[in-house]
């Protein structure tokens, strides 16, 4: 049933693919953090067309599958623009863009969590708009959402196997390749599951600890 020797033999390959999985996740997370913030700003814009279009785009991206979006980036964009995108970048952009719409909501809740009096105080103290954001609003809006952002990082990590569809050689595709050579699927897929579990479980414990510590700091 379970062949220890075989499992031991393929483990190094899977572990080195795990590095790729983690790297894609981190790159995509950075993309999502930046685009998510831009989307959150654009959705709050006073300029109605911009905020409407932004909300429409967010809605569209959130209501369509990541897999299809990645296919679109990888297969369609080269046809439309004439530039072909390597699988890695298509994966990073696809995953990052998809979750930027979720993160924009997280930012929004953080920004709305700042009491109105803070805005009024900034106006009373004659702060410029940029100063208000930089030194008053964001320093109060971002810390409470850090644990939520951490949870999304874990969610994104677990979405990376989808990227094997565009031949990005992460853990899932590596396991698939091993299976197609050895015709044994039990050990590779079980190991992939175990590796995913270990990392996301540890990460979620860390996020929980962070959350507790931050609640303590804020005196809750």
């Amino acid at each position: 049933m379970w062949d220890w020797k075989y499992a031991w033999d393929i483990l190094p390959q899977l572990l080195s693919a795990l590095k790729m999985t983690v790297w894609v996740t981190l790159c995509a997370f950075v993309v999502a953090l930046i685009i998510g913030l831009l989307l959150a700003f654009a959705a709050r814009s006073q300029f109605k067309p911009l905020s409407l279009i932004t909300k429409g785009v967010i809605e569209f991206i959130r209501n369509t599958p990541l897999l299809v979006q990645v296919f679109f980036l990888y297969y369609s964009l080269p046809v439309l623009t004439g530039i072909s995108i390597p699988a890695f970048y298509a994966g990073v952009i696809g995953l990052g863009l998809h979750y930027s719409t979720y993160l924009s909501e997280v930012y929004r809740s953080g920004i709305e969590g700042v009491p109105k009096g803070q805005w009024e105080a900034a106006t009373a103290l004659n702060y410029t708009k940029a100063q208000t954001w930089r030194s008053i609003i964001l320093p109060q809006a971002v810390p409470p959402i850090i644990p939520v952002l951490g949870n999304y990082l874990i969610v994104m990590f677990k979405e990376t196997p989808i990227l094997c569809a565009i031949t990005l050689v992460e853990m899932m595709l590596t396991a698939k390749n091993i299976v197609s050579q050895s015709f044994r699927a039990f050990e590779p897929y079980t190991l992939v599951g175990i590796l995913f579990f270990i990392i996301s479980y540890i990460a979620s414990l860390l996020v929980q600890r962070l959350e507790k510590r931050m609640n303590l700091q804020r005196g809750k």
């Binding site: 569209f60 209501n63 897999l67 299809v68 046809v79 677990k158 599951g193 995913f196 579990f197």
Partner: protein, 217 residues
């Protein structure tokens, strides 16, 4: 060769049918599992609490695609061969059930303590407490998060493409293989179809929510 993008519609609609069937049955499984596991985690018996917690952690800690591959490609090696449809429904249902159980658990915990005390004071049987007093109140709180999960579930049915089930995504990719020059039209159409399905479902959930919470919350 197709004359226009309309020629792709019949094939795609056939795929949409499979997508909807998979989504429907896995949503039902996920709902049932959510309640069983969510209430199980609040059980007085430690063995039930532990078992449900282990289930939830395992399914939340690994990835849906890994679970699908495991059920469909790995299980046959220990003598269990599942048909594609069953593997798909099990993977999606059990995965979303694990997330859903957290919704049920927190909604039940959010019912004010006085309600529990009142059921005891009224000498209700345990199942009466849950069924007549606690769950009706908790269910209203569960609706919005369940609605979001349902949209996520519909999106995730696209993963059955990987086990070559002829769903919407699979049909579209077969079409793309046959008519490479129409790649963009096919993929845009595919995105739009998912968007329409997901938007209709989330509108329906919102309507239901408004109807049920009218005059309550």
């Amino acid at each position: 060769m197709p004359d226009s993008w309309i020629d792709f519609l019949p094939t795609l609609l056939k795929g949409a049918e499979i997508t909807i069937v998979v989504a429907f049955f896995s949503a039902i499984l996920a709902l049932v599992v959510s309640f069983v596991a969510g209430l199980g985690r609040l059980s007085k018996l430690w063995i039930i609490r532990t078992l449900t917690a282990v289930y939830v952690e395992i399914f939340r800690g690994t990835s849906l695609l890994v679970q699908l591959f495991w059920l469909y490609f790995a299980l046959p090696f220990i003598g269990i061969e599942l048909p594609k449809m069953l593997a798909a429904i099990l993977a999606i249902g059990l995965n979303f059930g694990a997330y859903g159980s957290e919704i049920v658990r927190s909604a039940v915990l959010a019912v004010p303590k006085g309600q529990w005390e009142a059921t005891v004071a009224l000498n209700m049987k345990p199942w009466q407490r849950l069924w007549n007093v606690i769950l009706p109140q908790a269910s209203l709180r569960m609706l919005p998060p369940f609605g979001n999960q349902l949209v996520e579930l519909i999106k995730s049915t696209s993963l059955v493409y990987f086990i070559t089930m002829a769903d919407l995504t699979y049909q579209a990719m077969v079409l793309r293989n046959n008519y490479i020059s129409w790649t963009t039209e096919i993929l845009v159409l595919l995105l739009l179809m998912y968007f329409v399905i997901a938007t209709l479902v989330s509108l329906a959930v919102r309507l239901l929510e408004r109807k049920l919470t009218a005059g309550r919350l």
